[in-house]
């Protein structure tokens, strides 16, 4: 399971939630703002400003890179990974520059020949029109597939195999599972599916409803 690091829903061992404060700054430290802006711009340097590829890069980080540098550090680490993947940056280029900044005598790797994925978006953003009508309608009972894809997906583990009811049909959007790998947009209908907490977490769970917005291929009908 390659994508478990980011898939936190229902996992245990995190302790208490943080109590919100009203006056929290947008960027707690100056570097966070730089990392935020650098990440957005870096994504635009790789084919198609691919947000799904960025999310997949986040999932491929090692534990310290994901959790150890806080949120925008995680972004920067994923941006660097995408840039190295596309040979816009040489492996080790950032580390060498850091050592140089510290006054060390290091040789920086030469700038590589870029090797960007072959992809150009068919439209801006992630919403697309789909000719086929939606397979499911509001009120339909569906099951989230119990799938274990090798690559990126937006079907969280805690919903796999679970039964729910379609609450809303949302605009179609490009499928993250292929788009994240630059393997095509494959737009699909998206459904807001409502689940019951006791089916998800057992009879002793707090009673509540939960919805998630799931792509059509994540779902199968329940007769």
């Amino acid at each position: 399971m390659v994508n478990r690091i980011a898939d936190l829903g229902g996992t245990e061992g995190w302790g208490r939630t943080k109590v919100p404060t009203a006056d929290e700054p947008v960027f707690a430290q100056k570097w966070e703002g730089r990392a935020f802006a650098l990440t957005l711009l870096s994504m635009g340097r790789v084919s198609g400003r691919n947000l799904d590829a960025f999310r997949h890069a986040l999932e491929r980080l090692e534990h310290p890179e994901y959790f150890g540098d806080t949120y925008y550090g995680r972004w920067l680490n994923a941006a660097e990974l995408m840039l190295v993947d596309s040979a816009i940056l040489a492996p080790g280029a950032v580390e060498a520059r850091v050592r140089k900044l510290r006054g060390e005598d290091v040789e920086e790797p030469p700038v590589p020949e870029p090797n960007k994925p072959d992809y150009a978006p068919t439209a801006a953003g992630s919403l697309r029109s789909v000719e086929d009508p939606p397979r499911f309608a509001v009120g339909d009972v569906v099951r989230a597939k119990d799938m274990q894809p090798e690559g990126h997906t937006r079907l969280p583990h805690y919903l796999r195999g679970q039964r729910g009811v379609v609450e809303m049909v949302q605009p179609a959007a490009l499928l993250p599972d292929t788009h994240a790998h630059f393997l095509g947009e494959n737009p699909q209908h998206v459904y807001t599916v409502r689940f019951d907490s006791r089916e998800l977490w057992g009879a002793d769970a707090e009673p509540f409803a939960l919805t998630d917005d799931l792509f059509e291929s994540y779902l199968e009908p329940v007769s």
Partner: protein
Amino acid sequence: MSETTSSERLPIELRTEALEQLLTERGLVDPSVMDKFIQTYETSVGPMNGAKVIAKAWTDPQYRERLLTEGTSAIAELGFKGPQGEHIVVVENTANIHNVVVCTLCSCYPWPVLGLPPSWYKDPAYRARVVREPRAVLTEMGLELPAETEIVVRDSCSEVRWLVLPERPEGTEDMSEEQLAGLVTRDAMVGVAKVKTP
């Protein structure tokens, strides 16, 4: 990163500076464009935008109707659109139903109306636990809901973004739209708080 062989983790501040230098030198990034991005999200894109939307919905029944049926276009009427706001669904919190929003897979958040997410929203504890024990989580965060209130957790794993229309607090009948906007908080629009009577 995968090529890094040293056991030392380099400070993220320096890594950020290094990457900015490398990309700037090659003309791939313009620091003045970075400055603009940062300034935009520090000053003009934030929960004050969402607060205007909510205050208008509280005072204009027709707008409220549009907001709850066609959230994205109703929000765009006030000039709020952009990244992470392609399709915004607005759900109403009432005395009986309480919606609360999360993104368990990353930290998806409706930027045009709320800005960038706060630290608690990005924190693993919130992402992991609010889909499993929302009442316990809300209590920890300072919101005690009556036992009979139905909680609906909205996990946003696609590009759909969720905004909560909080309940208008009692005793605000005489307040103007602008005054009302001043009461609306980010936390109430995510669903981890209620708007309080001033």
